[in-house]
């Protein structure tokens, strides 16, 4: 599979560097993709592999909507070259609810109504997961530090902080309730 549609400037078109084979594990599944060296990880995830949960908000590393975990560390997939990820493990939002079962972290986002338009949500959850994997009971300043690269225009961030505090068992109770037969 060749890298199409491509997303760069015309100077690259003239140069046309040779494609390379990149092997990735995405959510535990092995993937081999053939990409030119300027292709970003985001394009591989969304267009080559077809996992569209990871969002494309700015293509310039300024909004955090494309955050995925690369060997457990949060990266901005829109400014990470795919060829640099050869042999590495990528985790995307789809990997958190394998088999259709939402993870407790995702449930906590629902409990706190921490998603509105939802466009930033996959990136926010991946940044949160990276934090919580290494720091199971983060303080509010630690949460803010970990999420400082994720823009959210809808929530004002309050409910996002509450979701992480709830998940990490720090005294925040669910705000919203699940459906139940009346």
């Amino acid at each position: 599979m060749l890298d199409s549609p491509e997303k760069t400037t015309s100077s690259v078109l003239r140069a046309r560097p040779k494609p390379r084979l990149v092997t990735l594990s995405i959510n535990g599944e092995p993937h081999e993709v053939v990409v030119r060296p300027h292709i970003m990880l985001l394009e591989v995830i969304r267009d080559h592999v077809g996992l569209t949960g990871t969002k494309d908000g700015c293509e310039s590393g300024t909004c955090g909507a494309c955050t995925v975990l690369l060997d457990g560390k949060p990266v901005l997939a829109c400014i990470t070259l795919a060829v640099e990820c050869d042999g590495m493990n990528v985790q995307t939002i789809e990997g958190l609810s394998e088999g259709g079962q939402l993870s407790d972290l995702q449930e906590a986002f629902l409990d706190q109504a921490a998603t509105q338009c939802g466009f930033c949500t996959p990136g926010v959850i991946m940044s949160s997961k990276a934090l919580l994997d290494s720091n199971p009971k983060p303080t509010v300043p630690e949460i803010k530090k970990a999420l400082e690269g994720n823009l959210c225009r809808c929530t004002g961030y309050n409910s996002i902080v509450d979701a992480i505090l709830q998940y990490s068992g720090q005294g925040v109770k669910p705000l919203m309730r699940k459906d139940g037969a009346p």
Partner: protein, 786 residues
Amino acid sequence: MSDLKFIGQNMRRKDGPDKVSGKAVYSQDVKLPGMLVGRVLRSPHPHARILRIDTAKARALPGVKAIITHADTIGVRHGFVETPRYPADQDVLAKDKVAHVGEEIAAVAAIDEITAQKALELIEVEYEILPAVFDAEEAMQPGAPEIRAKHPKVLENLANIAGKTETEWGDVEAGFAEADYVREDRFENQLRTHGYLEPQVTLAHWESDKLNVWTSSMGTFIKRAKLSRTLGLPYSQVRIHKTYVGGTFGGKIDLYSHEYCAARLSMLTGRPVRITANRDEIFSAYRHSQTLTIELKTGVRKDGTILAQRVRIINNAGAHRGSGVVVIFLAWGFIMGPYRIPNLKYEGYAVYTNHTTRAPQRGHGAPKVRFAIESQLDMIADHLGIDPVTIRLRNARGPWEELPNKDNTHEAGLLDCIKEVAAKSDYLNKWRHGRQQPDPTSTIRRGIGMGVTTYMSGTLIYPNGSGVIVKLNDDGSVIVLTGALDVGQGAETVITQIVAEELSIGMDDIKLIASDTDTTPQDIGAWISGMTYVTGNATRQAASNAREKILKVASQEMGVPVEYLGVENKSVFNVADSQQRMTYAQVFSASVAKHRGDTIVGEGFWRTMRDEPTHPSLATTKGRWTENYAFSAQVAEVEVDIETGEARLVKAYTLHDCGFPVNPGLIKGQVDGQVSMALGQAFMEEVMTKKGYTLNPTWLDYRMPLIHNMAASEDAEVITEQYRVGKPYRTKEVGEGLVSGVLAGIANAIYDATGVRMTSAPFTPEKILAGLRKLEREKAKELVSQ
């Protein structure tokens, strides 16, 4: 409300599971085989005549499938407003001239992005540069470069007038003459963008004589109308599909050129065409908010009672009318809503300049208007020695007041909002504390400020009404067809709650098919703050209609009169003998068997102000505007560092009369989001331009609130209405009006903390420091003169 099981409850979002798992499909996620990439050629000049466009070289490039210019359109213009007074003034692609940087000139469809970009570079355009003007007050002057002909009905000797709103009542000069204190002030506002995270993106596919479109929008029916007209297609030949939308805030309402271009290019090539605007394009060429300049003269009695107000607003409307002629109408509404003004004279001008065209933005002018009025009211109170709470209570409108346009305030809860927000924030104890007893060891000064606002809850703009269909399934579960679009506000959740309550059925047993122009009924859209009221009542009616049919069949089957039947948990029961019951599934079978196959389908429709033929006059404000006014009072607590001038919002308190809260948890989300938008507007955000070029077209340079800027936010409702199953209800808006009070409150709190009065937004460290230095100089002068 105690017997309600879903309404008034913090029910989780219906769309939540899809959104937290990455399954929610946005327009950028839709992909079709054979899809082409579209790109738009934009003007590099703020004002220029187009002398020649030559696309030959671009067409010859391998991989280019189609190129369009104005010559390939049917020449039908569009506009945010399309009325006899304000006919459409936007070409989908520039005809003879361009009037702002980034105006669309041509579009290309190619096999990939590189080829499309290359093709744009090969299109030759010859321009004759025209003189440009960017400041609205300069553009108004006779002899200024003419961007478009002045509106023929505005007779003043002014240039570039796109539109004017003018109204008055009472005798404003007599009011000023009677006043004990009169003051005049001028307030200015910055250019600010919406900051939706999802870029504008459109996929169009012309297939079997039908145009299928997936686009990031705020209402699919208005997009269908505008696309149909500009393409010359019957409405039935255009289908706008549902996608989730990654934030809008006013910036994705009416037609955008790229939507037309994707559609036209698909019609020419017979292949799907996707156009995505990159972030730089959105910052540089797309529609931002309105920068209102507000001149405000107010006369009051000694006790603070407002006697007269004269307001003149100048709106820098950009290169087309856009919503610029609407915001000068709305500004009047935001002035006259909260306080009684016995004598008023209002003039609003929308002025063409060589900036990008403007769009509504959350609150559509209200934050700017309330910033001015609430600031001046505090200045008046300060002069008269009255506290900010008392002066507001003295002037605030109560219930059942008739407004000058014959609207009514109904059960207005504004007085309670003001009293309760003052109590909750301990306002009067904190007020003046920071300035009078500053901590001498610290450079931080704390201040508190209040702002009041009112907002419409739905009005009459195309498509004016909403319809909903509720279908019972064989198994007793339900499918709802609604044209409403969930842009993040929670439309799908609220609609589901209403159906669940009316039919006594779990929310998980309700599935929605939404905002697809071919399969769902028409809907007002997510942009006039009327969804919960208008679409919500249509939903209630549709569910009630289905319930009546269910009860009728059950009554016949059970031999029990309808009035002795109740519903619970997907079944009908005999109130006198609860053992006697039929499940909805059994009712469905009985209905099909004995009622000529009737599968139980409920219909509901709603329109606000059903006796009004149309929307009020944008020119004179005559006619009803809305039948549901939402009211709110908000308090901001800020900290200002007097050494650096840096200010921040510490906490916001919001008391709002939203009628009754269908889902308080979702309302809290709306409040928090608006608090965040207000603090961005107050402290950080500004699209910087020079000669029409955007200087900060990225989120690194255009600073939007980060998690570090988060402020504490507390909110409570003043409940003035009730929800009863089977009965019409009133709700009031809660998604737009709550930016205003926080913005105004922040300005007043900065004054409370420092004595520095903010008259232009944003409230930057430079402005605050300059104010502090001026105060110091005045103090020094006083000392010298003593």
